[in-house]
């Protein structure tokens, strides 16, 4: 037992003291935020401003109407063209227009305009012409309102005819579906990243011990199973440390923000929102569950990764082909997360959050929606119990493969051979 502690200590300290760990811990959240805001920024910058001429043969479109919509959205311009279609067709490009739309002569306001064509020499993606479409619809709407004699008052009455259906959880008044969705996504993705990154760290660590032949020296002092377990627990502690540092940072920023943001600054608003999120999703339940699923899920997957690491030799391609089925399980779980978040009480969400291989990710996506309202206690309990049973099994299974693999050099075994090792009488 004492020896396992020594191994855990070594695995933990050598990793935590590495520069890559410190940089990764600080840099990861920064990069993550950059990614989110950066892509949003780039997408915003990347929008093309359109300048489109309208050749109105029907006579419905007036300068006044066009000017009104242009005032609301200045990025994309509609301009009423007086010249003929043939003439404009030849010169629109040189005049700096993106294209032009022709309103047919026989247009009838009662029948409506089903579709118009944007004549252009460019190709546009699906969303690029949306603002243009919106503007044309708006003008068309105004024209019809005008013809029907609907004034601004009547228009406002009509505008209020939309019903916005909001869900309200009557058992738990604080429940906030939007916040839960976000936290669910973040938890699921974080779990996914930790399982994949630290799982492959276990695999590479085991392979390193095998190829540098230190394994033979160590297993003459400790049992192979102790060496494997020590490594898994040590690396699991590293993952947990990283997660706890992040959580601590969030609380720190939150509290600093609360202190400094007494006035109505944007900071105070942001803090208020975060506070609402925290109270609505029972942050301690979420963090507690996350730590459980992080460790249990990590043990479940990383012992399988350790078994693979023990079976391969120096060639990293061998690792890829052998670890593919395990990686697929994790990717499959993240694919199941999206339907689970959009409907956290559906049968697929319930069952995949109970089955051990997908439960760490799917259950963590569901938990923010509330325990025990969305996730009843029996589901959480069953899921946890099965995951514990699952990782006990995978660790036992991996230990049997590891014991043989770690001292076996030469040809890479197949999964079939590895399973044979595991169930062979030793």
């Amino acid at each position: 037992m004492n020896k396992i502690l020594l191994i855990i200590q070594r695995e933990y300290l050598t990793r935590v003291r590495k520069r890559t760990f410190i940089i990764g811990t600080i840099l990861f959240p920064v990069l993550y935020l950059l990614l989110i805001f950066g892509t949003g920024y780039i997408a915003g910058r990347n929008k093309q401003d359109l300048k489109v001429g309208i050749i109105d043969k029907s006579g419905y479109f007036t300068e006044q109407l066009v000017a009104n919509v242009n005032r609301e959205d200045t990025a994309n311009k509609l301009i009423l063209i007086k010249t003929s279609e043939e003439e404009f067709k030849n010169e629109y490009d040189s005049l700096g227009y993106t294209g032009y739309v022709v309103i047919p002569e026989n247009t009838d306001w009662k029948k409506g305009l089903d579709s118009l064509e944007l004549n252009t020499n460019q190709t546009f993606g699906a969303g690029a012409t949306n603002p243009l479409e919106k503007k044309l619809n708006k003008i068309w709407g105004e024209i019809k309102n005008d013809k029907l004699g609907i004034d601004t008052v009547k228009k406002n009455i009509l505008a209020k005819s939309n019903i916005n259906l909001q869900t309200k959880n009557i058992k738990n008044k604080d429940a906030d579906a939007v916040a839960a969705t976000w936290i669910g996504y973040i938890c699921g993705f974080l779990m996914y990243l930790i399982l994949l990154l630290y799982g492959s760290q276990v695999m590479m660590g085991v392979t390193e011990e095998k190829t540098s032949r230190i394994a033979e020296v160590v297993v003459s002092s400790v049992k192979p199973f102790q060496l494997m377990l020590g490594k898994i627990i040590g690396i699991g502690m590293v993952a947990l440390t990283q997660f706890l540092i992040w959580i601590a940072c969030i609380f720190l920023i939150y509290n600093i923000g609360k202190l400094s943001g007494s006035d109505e600054s944007t900071m105070a608003v942001a803090v208020g929102n975060v506070q609402k999120v925290f109270t609505s999703v029972h942050i301690f339940t979420v963090v507690g569950c996350f730590i459980f699923y992080l460790l249990a899920g990590f043990f479940f997957y990383s012992s399988l990764y350790a078994a693979i690491g023990s079976a391969i030799n120096e060639d990293m391609r061998e690792a890829q082909s052998l670890s593919f089925p395990i990686t697929m399980l994790i990717i499959f779980s993240i694919a199941l997360m999206t339907p689970a978040i959009s409907n956290p009480s559906s049968p697929i969400a319930v069952w995949t959050s109970i089955i051990p291989f997908s439960s760490p990710i799917v259950m963590m996506a569901r938990v923010p929606f509330g325990v025990p309202n969305t996730v009843p206690w029996w589901q959480l309990g069953l899921s946890m119990a099965l995951l514990i049973a699952g990782f006990i099994f995978t660790t036992w299974f991996a230990g049997r493969i590891y014991r043989i693999g770690i001292l076996m050099y030469g040809k890479k075994p197949s999964w079939k051979e590895m399973i044979k090792w595991a169930f062979r009488k030793q």
Partner: protein, 311 residues
């Protein structure tokens, strides 16, 4: 008293009988040579003695008690043929870690490491990494790590490979010193000249079976071919004796084989009677290398794969 006794040890792999019914006894304080061609089963045998493998059958008795891998690790120091250390770990920390895994306390381990590092002039290595060391330096470090916890049984697999003569001698002297202080050394090798020089007792294994067991002296006696070297002032052209025959002439030295039922006196008597002055006379014992080759010869140089059905 025997430090290690092994009875009817067997280990079968899927395609090979790696160790097939081997028994041996190693007295305390002895330098013991475990010999055999490549793939004879030496490493498998050692791995069972060090507790890395469980034997399929048989018994291992260490220090008079049944071998218990978990608790007896501290009595054994094992240096595998393929050296292994963490490349990225600092040398001092690494030695400390591996010594603690053997069951030493931290302070005890620290004291011993300092002592050994001083003796081997390795003090400046403490904060270096293994990847900074040359092969020979790595070898030295591996040896220190193996014997650091003062094990009663030290198992060295090809300890001199890759070492220059100076460091070779350094380690050889340490081996003698450790043996003198009561440690037992198992020495696995196929370098026969080292065996002759160092070992007291040997066992030769081939194809998983023990084919020879005894002290270096008695083995040589058993395999001697009654050859003698005789140096003469002038080697006669024709030798005609019923008691021996000349095998080969080498300048002034004559190699003779004494026939059954005769003894060296007959040879000396012959030359005295012929009036030839004798300069020297000595018995030629076979070298370990000759014995090794003679015993292993005729078996295929590489082990063949075979089907093993029973487990």
């Amino acid at each position: 008293m025997n430090i290690l006794e092994v009875y009817n040890l067997k280990k079968y792999f899927a395609t090979q009988k790696a160790v097939d019914d081997i028994s041996l006894e190693i007295p305390k304080g002895c330098i013991f040579g475990l010999l055999g061609p490549n793939g004879a089963g030496k490493t498998t045998l050692i791995r069972m003695i060090t507790g890395i493998f469980y034997p399929d059958a048989g018994e291992i008795i260490l220090k008079g008690k049944k071998f218990d891998p978990e608790n007896d690790a501290k009595y054994i120091g094992y240096m595998p043929e393929e050296r292994g250390l963490y490349k990225k770990m600092k040398i001092g920390e690494q030695a400390l870690y591996l010594a603690q895994l053997k069951g030493l306390t931290r302070s005890d381990a620290m004291y011993k490491i300092k002592d050994w590092f001083r003796r081997f002039e390795m003090e400046s290595w403490w904060n270096k990494k293994v990847e900074d060391l040359s092969k020979g330096m790595g070898q030295k470090l591996q040896f220190v790590i193996t014997v650091l916890h003062e094990p009663d049984l030290i198992i060295l697999d090809e300890p001199f490979s890759g070492l220059d003569p100076v460091n070779s001698n350094l380690i050889k002297d340490e081996i003698y010193r450790l043996a003198k202080n009561g440690a037992t050394i198992i020495f696995s090798t196929h370098r026969m000249e080292q065996v002759e020089e160092i070992c007291d007792k040997i066992v030769l294994v081939n194809k998983g079976k023990k084919i020879l067991d005894g002290s270096v002296h008695s083995v040589k006696q058993d395999f001697k071919e009654n050859l003698f070297g005789i140096q003469l002032e002038k080697v006669p052209d024709i030798i005609n004796s019923s008691s021996f025959e000349a095998i080969k002439t080498n300048k002034q030295e004559l190699i003779v084989k004494i026939k059954e039922g005769h003894n060296p006196n007959d040879v000396l008597g012959y030359f005295i009677k012929e009036g030839i002055n004798i300069v020297s006379f000595k018995e030629i014992l076979p070298s370990m290398s000759d014995i090794f080759i003679r015993l292993v010869e005729g078996t295929p140089s590489a082990r063949q794969f075979q089907e093993i059905d029973a487990k």
